[in-house]
Symmetry: C2
C-alpha cells in the first residue's frame, strides 16, 4: 500500500517534470532543455568534483528575458533553481540539487558595450573572464581580476563567487570591479542595480549580490571597470632555503610600502609537482619555497621598487633572484604557478584544495601548523598561495579509492579552516562557501550574525528557491549537531517537488 | 469635544514621553537624556540647515551596550529613532523626526585598537575623522577618506553617508576602507559583520551598512583600513582662461594613465569668494578656473608624473603652474579649496550645496548647462568640485529672507540633478540622500529597483523605526504626485507616538 502510494507519487512527479520541461521548452526552445540521464551527467558537479548530484532538468536560456521567464516558472511552482556559469567553481556553489532546475548562463556570451573613455565594459554573464581583457587590450586596457581558471571561467560565476586571482593584492577582487548589474530576482522580476557610476545612492545592492553564490538571483548583465595597462611589468622569482624566510620576505615587501600586483608562494612539494608536469626549468627543485612577485606601474617606478625588492629578498636569505619583463618570458615564470593545481594530479590520484585567509603576520606560524596537521592526519599538504593577501591554498593529497580517505581529508581541511579562524582569519578567500564550507560558517559568525544574513536572503527569496541549502549551515546539511528532521523540515524537504 | 480629545491625547503623549525619558535615563544616566526645549535646539538639524525639526528626546549613550539598550526600548514601543554622529551631514540624514528619539554617538569616541602590522584601526563611531590619521601618522600611516569637514565630522557619520573627500579619486570612498562593523540592529540585537580580513564569506553586510544612512541600524565599532603614507606628495595649482580648458586637462591627465590623489576644480566665482575670505594670495582672481592636482607616491614616480602633468596643463592652455611639496606650502594651496563652502557665506546670505556625479567625459557640457540653468532661474551658481571623479558640487547662492527663494533654489538644484542623471550620472556623489534628495530617487531607479532596496530595509527594520522616511521617496514626503493621506498612512504617521 505504502509502496504503491510511493509508486503513484513517483509517476506523478515524472509527469510533473515532463510538463515543466515542456513549459521551459516553450521559452527557450526544445533543444535548450536538457532532460536525458546521459546528457545530465555533464552538469552533475562543478569544479568541486567530490560532490555529484544530477538536477531534474537543465535549461539554457539565451537572454535576460528568457532567464526571467524560466525563473518565473520556477517561482510559480516553487521549484528550486541553481544558476551555473562555466562550472569551474571550487566550493560547489553551482552543484545541482535533486529536484531542481539548473539554469546555465553559457549562452549569454555577448560583450554589450565597450566605453573606453569612461573605462567601462558591459558584458553578459557567459562571457569568459579573459575575453574582457582581449576586447580592450588593443586600446591599452585590461580587466584586473584573474582567477587561475581565467581562460575558461565566466564573468557570471566570478560575480557569484566574488572571485580573486593573483593580481588581487593590488587591485582587489571581483566586487571592486563590478559597478552595475542587471539581475533576475527569485520572483522573476528584472532589476538594474548600480550602473556605470561608482557609489550610487541607496543601498549598495551590487555589493551584496557579488559573492552571493546565486542565492539572491541570477545576474544577466554586468558593468565592469577596466584599468589602464601598466607601462611596465616585471616578474621576479626568488627562491629560499626555508618557508619562514620566504614568509618574512613577504612581510618586509609590504612593510616597505611596496604594493606588487601580486605575491605568490609555492613550497617544495608544489615546485616539484609543477616541474614534473610543465617543466618550466626555472623553479629550483631543491628550494624550500619560491616567491613570484610581479611589479607593475610606470617604468621608473618599477625600476625603483625592483631595487628595493632585490635588497629585501637577499636580506632575507634568497639564494637566487631572476626576473623577466618580456611578456613571453613572464609567462614562463607564471606558467608553473598557473598549472600548480592541475600538476597535483601527477603526485596523487586526488587532491582537495582548501581556501582560507590569515592575517599576513601569522604566515610562518600557520604554515608550520598546517604541516603538523598534515603529519597528524598522515596526508601530504602542498602549499601554493596568494602570500601577499594571506590567502592560503593548501592542497591535500589523497586517494579517493581508499575507503575513508575523503572523510579524513575533509576533516583535515576543516582543521585548517579552524586554524585560520583562530588566528583572526577567514574560511574562504576567493572560492566561496557553496555546499562545501557551509558547516564552518558558525566558526566565524555568531547565530545573530548568520540570522542577519538570512534576513537578506529571505527578503530576496521568501520561497527559498534560489540555490537553497548553499552558503548557510543547517542541521540537515551539516553533520555536527544533526538530528532527525522535524515534520516541518520533512515537508520543506519535499515541498520542492513540483505539484501542479 | 474633538479639541478636548486632542488635548487629552496630547497630555497622554507628554506623559508617555516623560516615562520614556525615565527609561532612557536609567540606561544612560539622567544627564545624558536631553529633553528641554532650549537644549533640544542644538539638535534640530544637521549640516543641511534649511530643514529643522526638534526630536522629542535626545539620548547620548556611552557604549555599545547602552546603544543596544536604548534601541531595545525604541523597538518595544515602536518609537522611531534617528542616529546622529557629529551632525555635519549635508543631506539631512541625521535630521530628527517629530516624535522620535535622536541617538547621538558623540560619546563613543575611543580608538580601540591600532594594528599597524596588518594596517587596521578599530574605532568607535564618535571618533573624529582626522583623529585616525593623527593616531597612526607617527608610524607612517594615514586614513584616506578626507571629507572637507574632516576636523569635525565623525567616523560614524562617514560610515552612514559613505563619505568621500578630495583623495577619493585614487583611494576610493569610505566603503573601500571599512572592513568590519559592530552594529546595533533596529531590534536592539548586537551583531559583528565583516572583520579585519577583507572579503569575508557570506553576504557583504558591511557593504550594505555603509551608506545606509542609519536606516539599518547604528554602528558602534568600525574596523578601518589604514594606508602607508606616500614617500612624496606634490600639489599643483594650474589656472586657465576657460572652464573647458580646465575640463579638457582633467580628461587628458586621467587619459594619460596618471592617477593623482585628487583633482579639484574651482571656477572664477569660487576663486574670488575664497580669496575674499581666506586670502591664499595664490588663486588668481582673473582665472576662469583653477585646477588643484595632488600627486603622491614614490619620489621618482611623482617626479615623472609631474613632468607629464606640466606638459598636459600647458598643452591645454594653462596660464601658469605652481607647485608645493613642503607640508606647510601644500596646505596653503589646499586652504582655499577646503574653505570654499564656508566662503560662499561672504558672497550671499545663504547657499545651497548640490552634490551630483557625471561621467568625466561630460564635464564641459554639464558645466555649461549648469550655467544656463542658473541664468534661467536668476541665481548665481559657483562650482567647486572633485573633477577627477566627475563629482560636482554646484553652490547656488540665494537669500532665505526673500520669500520663495528657497523653493526656487531647490527647484534649480533638482534640475541640476536631473541633468546629471540624463548624462548617465548620479544624484549623489558623497553627501547621501537623507531627507533632501529622496524625491529624486525615481529619476535614477525604477519602481522595481527601489522595491528591491525596500526588501532589504524591511528585513532589517520590519517595524520601520530606524530613521524612517529617509532615502526613499513616498507620496507623503515628496511634493510631486502627493495626494491626501490614506487611513493606513494616517495611522502609520501617528503610530510613532508612544502608547504604553
Amino acid at each position: 500500500m505504502l509502496t504503491s502510494d510511493l509508486a503513484n507519487q513517483n509517476a506523478q512527479n515524472a509527469q510533473d517534470w515532463r510538463s515543466l520541461a515542456q513549459q521551459f521548452a516553450q521559452i527557450v526552445g526544445d533543444r535548450y532543455v536538457v532532460r536525458t540521464q546521459e546528457e545530465l551527467i555533464a552538469y552533475e558537479c562543478d569544479g568541486l568534483t567530490s560532490y555529484k548530484q544530477q538536477p531534474a532538468l537543465v535549461v539554457l536560456p539565451k537572454d535576460t528575458a528568457e532567464v526571467a521567464a524560466v525563473v518565473k516558472v520556477c517561482d510559480r511552482y516553487q521549484v528550486p533553481f541553481v544558476a551555473r556559469g562555466a562550472g569551474t567553481g571550487l566550493s560547489g556553489g553551482a552543484l545541482p540539487l535533486a529536484d531542481s532546475v539548473l539554469i546555465v548562463t553559457a549562452r549569454l556570451k555577448q560583450i554589450l558595450d565597450v566605453d573606453l573613455a569612461n573605462q567601462r565594459v558591459v558584458v553578459q554573464p557567459g562571457v569568459i573572464n579573459n575575453w574582457v581583457t582581449q576586447a580592450v587590450s588593443g586600446a591599452g586596457f585590461y580587466y584586473a581580476p584573474d582567477p587561475s581558471s581565467q581562460i575558461i571561467c565566466s564573468i557570471g560565476g566570478n560575480v557569484a563567487e566574488n572571485s580573486g586571482g593573483v593580481h588581487c593584492l593590488k587591485y582587489g577582487v571581483t566586487t571592486n570591479h563590478v559597478l552595475g548589474l542587471k539581475v533576475v530576482l527569485p520572483n522573476g522580476e528584472i532589476v538594474n542595480i548600480g550602473g556605470k557610476i561608482p557609489e550610487m545612492p541607496g543601498y549598495d545592492l551590487p555589493g551584496i549580490l557579488v559573492g552571493s553564490e546565486g542565492t539572491l538571483g541570477i545576474v544577466t548583465e554586468v558593468t565592469l571597470r577596466i584599468l589602464k595597462a601598466a607601462e611596465k611589468i616585471q616578474v621576479f622569482l626568488a627562491d629560499f632555503d626555508s618557508v619562514e624566510a620566504a614568509g618574512a620576505t613577504v612581510s618586509d615587501i609590504t612593510g616597505a610600502g611596496i604594493i606588487p600586483g601580486g605575491i605568490e608562494m609555492m613550497d617544495n612539494m608544489s615546485i616539484n609537482a609543477v616541474e614534473d608536469v610543465v617543466a618550466t626549468n626555472c623553479y629550483p627543485r631543491d628550494a624550500a619555497a619560491i616567491l613570484l612577485v610581479e611589479l607593475d606601474g610606470m617604468a621608473i617606478e618599477v625600476a625603483e621598487n625592483a631595487k628595493q625588492l632585490e635588497a629585501i629578498c637577499y636580506k632575507n636569505g634568497a639564494r637566487n633572484l631572476v626576473s623577466a619583463t618580456d611578456p613571453a618570458e613572464r609567462n614562463i615564470l607564471w606558467k608553473g604557478r598557473k598549472a600548480a593545481f592541475a600538476a597535483m594530479g601527477k603526485l596523487s590520484p586526488d587532491y582537495y584544495v582548501q581556501d582560507g585567509v590569515i592575517p599576513r603576520t601569522k604566515l610562518p606560524y600557520v604554515l608550520k601548523e598546517i604541516a603538523n596537521l598534515g603529519e597528524k592526519y598522515g596526508h601530504y599538504v602542498a602549499n601554493v598561495f596568494h602570500a601577499g593577501d594571506g590567502n592560503l591554498h593548501p592542497l591535500i593529497l589523497y586517494d579517493n579509492s581508499v575507503p575513508g580517505q575523503l572523510e579524513r581529508v575533509e576533516e583535515l581541511g576543516g582543521e585548517i579552516l579552524k586554524l585560520c579562524v583562530a588566528v583572526g582569519g577567514s574560511i574562504s578567500g576567493e572560492h566561496g562557501i557553496g555546499s562545501d564550507k557551509r558547516c564552518y560558517m558558525p566558526e566565524m559568525f555568531s547565530e545573530a550574525d548568520l540570522e542577519t544574513m538570512q534576513w537578506v536572503r529571505r527578503s530576496f527569496d521568501p520561497k527559498n528557491i534560489a540555490n537553497p541549502t548553499k552558503i548557510f549551515p543547517s542541521p540537515r546539511t551539516c553533520g555536527e549537531g544533526a538530528k532527525p528532521l522535524s515534520k516541518e523540515e520533512l515537508e520543506s524537504k519535499f515541498k520542492n517537488v513540483p505539484r501542479f
